[in-house]
Amino acid sequence: MEKYTLVVNGKKHQIETESDMPLLWVLRDILSMKGTKFGCGQALCGSCTVLLDDEAIRSCAYPISEVGDQSITTIEGLSKDGNHPLQKAWVDHVVPQCGYCQTGQIMNAAALLKRNSNPSESEIESAMAGNICRCGTYNRIKEAIITASKSY
């Protein structure tokens, strides 16, 4: 067991865990933050996407020992009251079906808008290609990102 200090959504947490535990399970099982989802455990689906500084990462395949002092943003910390332009656009376009993939989609889109505030349709498609939505909400995700980019 190792000791780590994590900054999650601006808040410091002291935790003690095995060094190979992926960030996903630290968030879900130890910090009890359930917004970040488990979909594949192999960096193949994007359900577990969080931001490490401004970069989107797959937390299921990111060991806690690699986090260092980079700050973590999860869906719970993306905005106060769910008013990030992406979250608003997600509601306006009624994007979710089952909703399970959507927090990962939103976090991945947040990273996209941070580096490209006005992405084209094909830029959105390739940036979001790592995030699976089995319900097939791709069309509305795309529309919502375009809407959000306008008020970003």
């Binding site: 359930k34 979909g39 089995r134 069309n139």
Partner: protein, 759 residues
């Protein structure tokens, strides 16, 4: 005999109306609520204007309290169809509630109280449209009677809106202020209350956003694995890689040495047949957290007795299945005499179609939480489509009365039929009992793909006979696939009537000689139902064949199919079927098989997609039409070559006749999602077995489409209809598959006879 599949269950009208017998006619005071659990989830903290919260509960679906809070129960499982919104909004509309302030509470699994909760077979709206309206209307009727009495005017002068009763003279009173007065009022008979006129609905027939959208966008929506209980342990299970296998021996030393691992427990499987509601044989590692459990599982040493399926190869079986279709099978429908037609033929077109096993791959892998208490009771939290089945299966496994099993339903991160089966819920219950603690069972993606209840692989052969005048005079359809029923009864080696009723036996076209035959095949794995079930492969084969016949005749496939329906009529297949026609559990007189409605969607889609022009413009467009789950759907798909030669789907048009469209936004979203789902079935997904084991491990092996491959513009044209509403969860999938295949043929010149098609 109708097979006893939950998705085809014949509806029992007695049970339906039972939901209206108010369980408690009188008013429930706050004190009694706290223990009664009758409206679990309502905020008990608030106090009413008179210091005491009084709650009016005219039936199990509605409560109105003196603080004016209207709570509506959602009793069907939410897996992405929006049903948690669409049924409560029907109640709210009849009631005249203020939708923006309505609170929706998920019912626990209790069929005696709420009626059927098995969320499957696209039948929630079909089954509950009427009952939900009556539930709302009953409460509205009582509120209006109370207000009219208070004001000394006739009830006919009053209506409800925004959670108030309003008189024609302009008087207004909040629902909550009438609650006290309702104490002494008689309950009207829900069967005779007057329902609103359709034109006065404010929600039904409109786009209504889902209730959970905000929570989902904020990460606050609670799915199966999101419930935390104090002292909860996490279990991950190594299940036998071959269905029917057993644990010979295991060594848990290394697993127990992993920090955080507390216990290793063997789970007994049913063997062969594996059963639809039983766990598979395996060994569970129970730990403080998910990661420790996974690591413990990695180092488990298990010696398996793999059993009779250990040499199973799906490719070999498929070959045999395909071969069998050239012989005589069991005749399941016969019209005229196919042999005579064949002898008099001008041309025979014979084609075979094969489709693979598919996994559900719900985005949320199965997970469930159980807490078995020492006093012989148990509480479950699970993303289940079928609460009652799960409750019964748990009760059976724990040998307790099902009344002692409390079944809480979380949101489902996708269902598609997978989460009808309660095997994973039973696992949680057994492990909680063993660990004497609350336990969450967590399936990994590998577990999910290796141990699913798969959509069966299939082989089909269709012989189409054109007579000397070029008319389609004979149709001989052979179909073979391991039956769902075989999962519970190995003696089932032919597709059941129920499975044939899914788009095969009900071939609706006016062909004078029809013979439909099935062949034998055994199940060597667990077979289940996947979004639209055997409509998937039947629609693929039939619609691809019709397209090819039209081409052989040199006619437009849309015109060909339209004309093949001959005059408008209700089909009953009388005298032709060798078994029963299930009609999705509904009597034909109530839900006729109407060819006019099928034609209606053909006309509509051709017009909206500008079909003729697309053809003359040389676009690669494909068409198909298919009725399933009592909903009529036609589809036109357009494809193009992308810059790397890959296939792109720029545009899709759907026309749908699902009767009254209850929540039009969710109808569209189901069609959008259905097109995406079906694209995966055509382009990317397949499960195969060698040595009895599934060869795909994760989303790298079992691929589903991603955004760049997804159909770009999906237009959903809903036919204006006042027919009884029918479901839309599954019907988008079947016609899309052949429409896409037919479009790809236009683009590449190659017909698709085998799914998935890899470009």
């Amino acid at each position: 005999m109708m097979p006893k599949f939950p998705f085809l269950k014949t509806k029992d009208p007695e049970n339906k109306s039972k939901v209206f017998v108010p369980s408690r006619r009188d008013f429930l005071k706050l004190s009694s609520l706290a223990t009664g659990g009758f409206i679990l989830g309502v905020n008990f903290q608030c106090s009413g204007p008179k210091g005491e919260l009084i709650t009016f509960a005219p039936n199990v679906f509605i409560t109105i309290d003196s603080d004016n809070l209207v709570t509506i129960i959602a009793h069907r499982s939410e897996m992405g169809t929006g049903i948690r919104t669409s049924l409560p909004m029907i109640v709210a509309d009849e009631l005249g509630a203020d939708w923006s302030k309505v609170k929706i509470v998920q019912a626990e699994g209790d069929e005696e109280k709420y009626g059927d909760q098995n969320t499957d077979g696209s039948y929630s709206v079909r089954m509950f449209y009427e009952p939900m309206r009556k539930a709302g209307a009953t409460a509205r009727h009582m509120l209006i009677t109370a207000a009219a009495a208070k004001w000394g005017i006739a009830a006919s002068e009053c209506h409800t809106e925004d959670a108030q009763v309003v008189s024609s003279g302009g008087k207004k009173i909040k629902f909550g202020d009438l609650v006290e007065q309702l104490k002494t009022m008689e309950m009207p008979d829900p069967e005779t209350v007057t329902l609103k006129d359709f034109s006065s609905y404010k929600l039904i027939g409109k786009d209504v956003a889902i209730y959970d959208a905000h929570d989902m966008a904020k990460g606050e929506a609670k799915f199966g694995a999101d419930i935390d209980l104090p002292g909860m342990q996490i279990a991950v299970i190594r299940r036998c890689p071959v269905v029917g296998g057993k644990v010979k021996s295991f060594n848990d030393e290394k697993a127990l040495a992993v920090p955080g691992v507390n216990r290793v427990v063997k789970i007994e499987g049913a063997g062969i047949p594996p059963g639809l509601d039983k766990p598979l044989e395996g060994v569970a590692v129970i730990a403080d957290n998910t990661w420790a459990a996974m690591k413990g599982r990695d180092v488990l040493e298990i010696e398996w007795d793999l059993g009779e399926n250990q040499n199973y190869s799906s490719a070999k079986q498929l070959e045999e299945m395909l071969k069998s279709t050239s012989g005589n099978g069991q005749v399941r429908r016969e019209r005229g005499n196919f042999n005579t037609a064949q002898q008099a033929s001008g041309q025979i077109i014979e084609r075979t179609y094969v489709a693979p096993f598919y996994a559900h791959a719900t985005m949320e892998p199965p997970a469930a939480i159980a807490h078995v208490h020492g006093d012989g009771t148990c509480e479950i939290w699970a993303p289940t489509q079928h609460p009652q089945w799960a409750r019964q299966a748990v009760a059976q496994a724990l040998e307790m009365d099902y009344q002692n099993v409390k079944m809480n339903i979380t949101l489902l991160g996708g269902g598609f039929g997978r989460k009808s089966k309660p095997d994973f819920v039973v696992e949680a219950a057994l492990l909680s009992k063993a660990a004497k603690a609350p336990v969450r069972v967590q399936w990994t993606r590998e577990d999910d793909l290796h141990h699913d209840f798969y959509h069966a692989q299939s082989a089909q052969r269709i012989r189409a006979v054109l007579d000397k005048n070029g008319n389609l005079s004979g149709w001989n359809h052979h179909t073979v696939f391991p039956a769902i029923g075989a999962t519970a009864n190995s003696a089932e080696i032919h597709p059941s009537d129920g499975e044939l009723g899914l788009g095969c036996i009900d071939f609706p076209y006016e062909v004078p000689n029809i013979r439909i035959e099935t062949h034998e095949s055994k199940a060597h794995t667990r077979i289940g139902w996947l979004r639209s079930v055997s409509n998937i492969h039947h629609s693929f084969a039939i619609n691809c064949m019709l397209d090819e016949i039209a081409e052989a005749k040199g006619v437009d496939p849309v015109d060909f199919v339209f004309n093949l329906l001959a005059e408008d009529k209700d089909l009953d297949f009388a005298g032709e079927l060798k078994g029963d026609f299930g009609n999705y559990g509904e009597p034909l007189d109530k839900f006729p098989w109407n060819t006019r409605r099928l034609r209606g969607v053909i006309e509509k889609v051709a017009q909206e997609a500008n079909w003729k022009k697309a053809l003359t413009d040389g676009k690669s467009v494909g068409f198909a039409v298919h009725k399933s789950f009592l909903t009529y759907v036609a589809c036109i798909v357009q494809v193009e070559k992308g810059s790397n030669g890959q296939i792109i789907i720029p545009e899709v048009h759907y026309a749908v006749d699902c009767g009254i469209g209850v929540n039009t936004d969710r109808i569209r979203s189901q069609f959008e999602g259905g097109a995406q789902f079906a694209t995966s079935l055509v382009m990317t997904s397949a499960i195969t077995f060698e040595n009895g084991r599934v060869q795909q491990n994760n989303f790298d092996g079992y691929q589903v489409i991603r955004m760049p491959q997804s159909p770009k513009k999906i237009h959903v044209h809903i036919v204006d209809s006042m027919e009884k509403p029918t479901g839309v969860g599954e019907p988008p999938v079947p016609p899309f598959i052949p429409a896409l295949c037919n479009a790809i043929y236009k683009l590449t010149g190659e017909r698709i006879y085998q799914l998935p098609f890899k470009s």
